[in-house]
Structures are given as structure tokens and as C-alpha cells.
Amino acid sequence: MSKNRGTKPKPVLMQGNAAVAFGALDAGMRFFGGYPITPSTEIAEILSAELPKYGGKFIQMEDELASMACILGASIAGMKSMTATSGPGFSLMQENLGYGMIAEIPCVVVNVQRGGPSTGLPTSPSQGDIMQARWGTHGDHPVIALYPDSVLECYELTIRAFNLAEKYRTPVILLMDEVLAHMRESVILPPKEKLKILNRIKPNVPPEWYKHYKNEPKYISPLASFGEGYRFHITGLAHDENGFPTQVPQEVEAMMDRLLKKITDNLDDIIQIEAFEMDDAEIAIFAAGVVARSAKEAIIKAREKGIKVGLIRPLTIWPFPDLDVEMMLENTKAVIVAEMNQGQLINEIKRVTKYGHHSKFIKLQKYSGLIITPDEILNKIAEVK
């Protein structure tokens, strides 16, 4: 794909991984550090060729610990940065992912999921890392994770991941399904001038006044880059608003509250969720990524038979869309939670839906390395009485 796609958007045949790579470039990403792993490797391969053409930098690091570390370093130096990996590599990134969260360094981490645990099923789809994305790094922390279901959405959510990372000064995770990463679809990318690209806010105060972990505005302090005259300190230790280590309980609490509130106070902005045929639905299907595509097909077929069924699909999987899901399930009599794992999303649905609610929880779980088909979902719909 050429750097300039002209003003008249034309359809192009594109793979999910390529859509991520080109979305990142269009978002202004100029630094990629990574380590090869199926099924994410195409992202690194494409960017190794494209980034230097944009004046950006690509580096294949010695492992995923280093990949995560170097993209944080690059971001502090002012680059929009990212890495892409799969389960085993995502596990190795966890400690430094937490560093990015406490130090509030924007970046994007793509995890094209594969079957696990361990080396598991390297080339097969799985949604086994939904909880790892939420709780993989140690300690209390909020997380932003997005989940696309089409090649076009891979492109769009990659850009959105960068926008959220820059806006909220935090690493953002893009969770993908292997099937989507390798699937080719015809897409029409929006013209570049129509794209909404956000960049981190830079301080406009003299260096003596700059506090890079100040509570304002709205819990997010502007972020200077290294080498711009601000000369500040960044640490993974609990720190005060100047970034210096602290063990003063009030200061620690203030830091932890700020990290949480900058996300929880902005749920309306962060959360995206799709409701498909939910208006009159008596049965809801809750599914993310490619499972939601199977669900849509099943819903169309079921509706032909007069069954009132709809889909709830989170585009933002973390923070979990608690309120939206609760509201959408209000008038349903059952919810089918379809996921390619042994049950990670279903517990979230149970958590946000009050017990005693008339919804029945029906699980459809598959972890054999095969995707959930429309027929399997239709069969589950038929089970609902």
C-alpha cells in the first residue's frame, strides 16, 4: 500500500494484521519494537519495511521484555510507539506493561491471541487472554483494551487505541483473534484528512513549574518528552506529583486514585459497544471479535424463524461496559455468552447482571482451536425455552 492513498478512497484487499500496521502508521506511530511470534508477525514484517520510509524506527528486540521496555523508552523520547505479540510474548511483557501504567506512558500493545496456556496452539484462534489483558500485570490498575471484529475495525481501533493512549497517558491493549489477523477483507479506508488523530498534551509552563504527575487537568498531567528542557524523573516506584519516590500514605493513595479515576471518570469516552437487533430482543448473545460475526449470522437466520434474538458486542472490552450491558440485558429472558475459552466473559456478565434477574446465563465455550460457528450459536438459541 502506498503512503499516499489519494483523496478518492478505493477498496483494497487487506489482512487484519496489515490493517493494524497501516492504522498505526496513520495514527502517527513512528516506533515499533517487537519480537516475532505467530499469529502477529506480519505486523512487525510490514512495519520493518514501512517505518523507515516514514522516517520512523523499527527494531527487532532480543525478547518481549525488551520489546515492551523499548517502546516505553521511545514514547518518553516523544515517539508514538507500539509492539505486537501473542500469548507467550504478552506474558513476558506484563511487568513492563505495569511500568507503563504507573509511569503513565502512552503506547499500544497488540495481542493477537492464540491457544494457550504456554505454547498451546500457535496458529489457532482463542480468546484466552481476555483476563490476562485485565489482570496480567501485578498490582491494582485499570486497563483499556479494545477488541475489533473486522479488518476495517482493526484499522479503526488501532487508531483509536493510539488516541486513547495519548489522551489518557497509558498503554492501551488491542486484543485480536487469530482468524481476524489472517483474514483478508475488502476495505475502504477513510481519507486521511477525515481521521481524528489525538496527540499527547505538552506542558506550556516553564520547567520549574512543571509537575508531570499533577492531578489536573482531570487527573492527567501534560507530558513533556525527554530532551525538551523539562528534565524530570520517571520511576516505577510509587511517586509524588514530581515523579519522586514516596512512601507517604496520602501521596501513594493520591497516585493510585488518580490512575484509577483518569479511566473511571471517562467511561463514556472510552467505552464503545455495539447493539445489533437488541431493540426487541428476548435472547441476547454476548460475544466479542470474530465470535460476534458468527453470532450476527446466527441472529439473521433465527430472526427469519421469528426468534427475537440480538447481539451485544463490546468494542471496548476493558474497562468492562458494566452499565451498558446491564441496561441492554434488562428486558431479555436469557443471555448466551459465546467465547473461545473456558469461561472468562461469562463471569463478567454474571457480575454486572443482578442475581434474581430473569436473564438466564447460557454458556457457549469452545477451546479446541476452532472458531464458534453460526450453527453452534443457532443450536444454543434453540435450547432457550
Binding site: P52, A66, A69, N96, F226, G227, F244
Partner: protein
């Protein structure tokens, strides 16, 4: 006016940071920081152009005290963070401060790969032969037979020679000095910073609290004397018969060569592909020396 060495150091300390520092009395970390600051002063490098990056350990607490762009990262990963900074902003002087455990155990992979890439980082390993921060466990540089809290019967494992490791991995500048030899350390730091390429300096330091105590070295002063008496400059060693240098540690510039540096090579690629000069510039060393600190 002649600059008093202490005054030089004070120019670089952070006023907003409350002292005292975390280091024990007699620790080598402060001496080595002083040597490094005098080197930076002599080179006349702008504070804004310095990024000081560290891992986890007593030695890695160093950046918080100094008025540069400072980054205290995770255990072992300083070099990997520094790689991201350097590649993004090649004009910056990126100095890595790391302990022997940080650099050679948990971070050993990053150390050898930075050397292999020959990326322009100045990596200063403060080698106290032990894990200071966690209370004296053995490290990859604890010599065979020496004691540590996790080697109560003496270490059964041979130690790394960090200079040999750095050289064979591909670093273009490799040196060793000690906390005792402050003038030599300053001179080596100056050369290491100026070097276009990966510079790795193994600085033998004392941890009187753990290593010293567990191995009956006596006081910090005794440990400094040990550094004086058990090391030989590389030039002198080359003239001595083998029996005279047996058991001694060689210090000075062990290896110094010029070879392609990674960020420069990458910028050449960008220029080649785009026909434009890359967005990044060369490392800025302002050579205007305003005074000499010894």
C-alpha cells in the same frame, strides 16, 4: 576561578529532591556518581541532552538525584528502555547506570544485544560483586568461593568477566576501573561518553554492608585499599610477567575500536529510502569546556 570538585557536583544535583540519599555510609555508588558528574562537566554536555536510565538496585537509585532526563525502570531492563530512547532521539547522550545483578543476571540478554548492535549507549555497571539492595545475595560477578546470603558455603559458580563478555559481544569501547581510582574513572567515563558506539564500563565498587561484611573485608576504607592493591593498569600488565599479574584484576581501557553504530546506520537507511535527511541528528556534545574538574 578554580572549580572545587564538590561545587561541580552540586551544579548537577536536583534541588527539588530531598536528600539524604538511600545509600549506606562507605558505599561506592556516591563516589562513582561524583566521577561521572565531573566527566560530564569536563565534556561540557548540556543537561537537557542527557538521559540517565537505570534498572533496579542500590546503584540504580542514582538517576533520581541528578538534574538530567532520568528514568528508573524495572530490574534488568534499563538497557532496553535506553535503546528505545536512543533510537528515537539519537542526538541525546544516553547513559545507563546498572548493577552487576541488574546488568549481567536478569538483564544479561539486553547487555549482550546492545553490545552486538553497537548502539551508542554508555553503560556503566557498578560492580559490587553482590545484590546490595536485597541484602547480599550472590550475583553473576560474585567470585568462586566468596560468601553471600544465598551462598553461605561459598559460591560454587564461577563469575563473569564483564569486560570479556562485553568485548566478545561486540561493544566498541570496553573499560574497567574502580571506585578507588577516581581520576581514572572520570577519564574513562569521558571517553566512554564521547565514543560513538556501545561503551561498557565495569566499575568495581564496594558494598561494605553486605559483600564486605560477609567476606570479612573490614571497613569501606579497607575495601577501597583492596581495589588499589589488587588491580593493575592494562598498560603495566602488558609489560609484566604472567606470575606478577596472576590473581590481579586488569583495569583501564581494555578495548577501543571504531565500527558502524546502530542508530547512525538506521538513519542512513531512512535517508536512502526517503531521499531526505532523517528527523534525528547526531549526538550533541558541546565541546566548550568551561573548566577542568579532576
Amino acid at each position: 576561578m578554580k572549580n572545587i570538585p564538590q561545587k561541580v557536583i552540586h551544579q548537577y544535583l536536583r534541588h527539588r529532591k530531598k536528600f539524604p540519599h538511600v545509600w549506606c555510609p562507605g558505599c561506592g555508588n556516591g563516589i562513582i556518581l561524583g566521577d561521572l558528574l565531573r566527566a560530564i562537566y569536563n565534556l561540557g554536555i548540556e543537561k537537557d541532552s542527557i538521559a540517565m536510565v537505570s534498572g533496579i538496585g542500590c546503584s540504580s537509585r542514582m538517576p533520581v538525584y541528578v538534574d538530567f532526563n532520568t528514568l528508573h525502570t524495572t530490574h534488568g531492563r534499563a538497557i532496553a528502555f535506553a535503546t528505545g530512547i536512543k533510537l528515537s532521539k539519537p542526538e541525546m547522550n544516553v547513559i545507563v547506570i546498572t548493577g552487576d545483578g541488574d546488568a549481567a543476571a536478569i538483564g544479561g540478554n539486553h547487555l549482550i544485544h546492545a553490545a552486538r548492535r553497537n548502539i551508542d549507549l554508555t553503560i556503566i555497571i557498578i560492580n559490587n560483586n553482590i545484590y546490595g539492595m536485597t541484602g547480599g545475595q550472590c550475583s553473576p560477578t560474585t567470585p568462586l568461593g566468596r560468601y553471600a546470603s544465598t551462598a553461605p558455603y561459598g559460591s560454587l559458580e564461577p563469575n563473569f568477566d564483564l569486560c570479556e563478555l562485553a568485548r566478545s559481544a561486540g561493544a566498541s569501547f570496553v573499560a574497567r576501573t574502580t571506585a578507588y581510582h577516581t581520576t581514572e574513572a572520570r577519564e574513562i567515563f569521558e571517553k566512554a561518553i564521547l565514543k560513538k558506539g556501545c561503551s561498557i564500563v565495569d566499575v568495581i565498587s564496594q558494598c561494605p554492608i553486605s559483600y564486605g561484611k560477609l567476606n570479612n573485608f573490614g571497613s569501606a576504607v579497607e575495601m577501597l585499599k583492596w581495589q588499589r592493591d589488587n588491580t593493575i593498569p592494562v598498560e603495566a600488565a602488558s609489560k609484566l610477567p604472567p606470575e606478577k599479574i596472576k590473581g590481579k584484576i586488569i583495569r583501564g581501557i581494555i578495548y577501543d575500536t571504531d565500527k558502524p553504530e546502530f542508530t547512525e546506520e538506521y538513519d542512513k537507511l531512512i535517508t536512502h529510502l526517503t531521499g531526505e535527511l532523517s528527523i534525528s541528528k547526531n549526538k550533541s556534545v558541546n565541546k566548550k569546556v568551561t573548566g577542568k574538574a579532576n
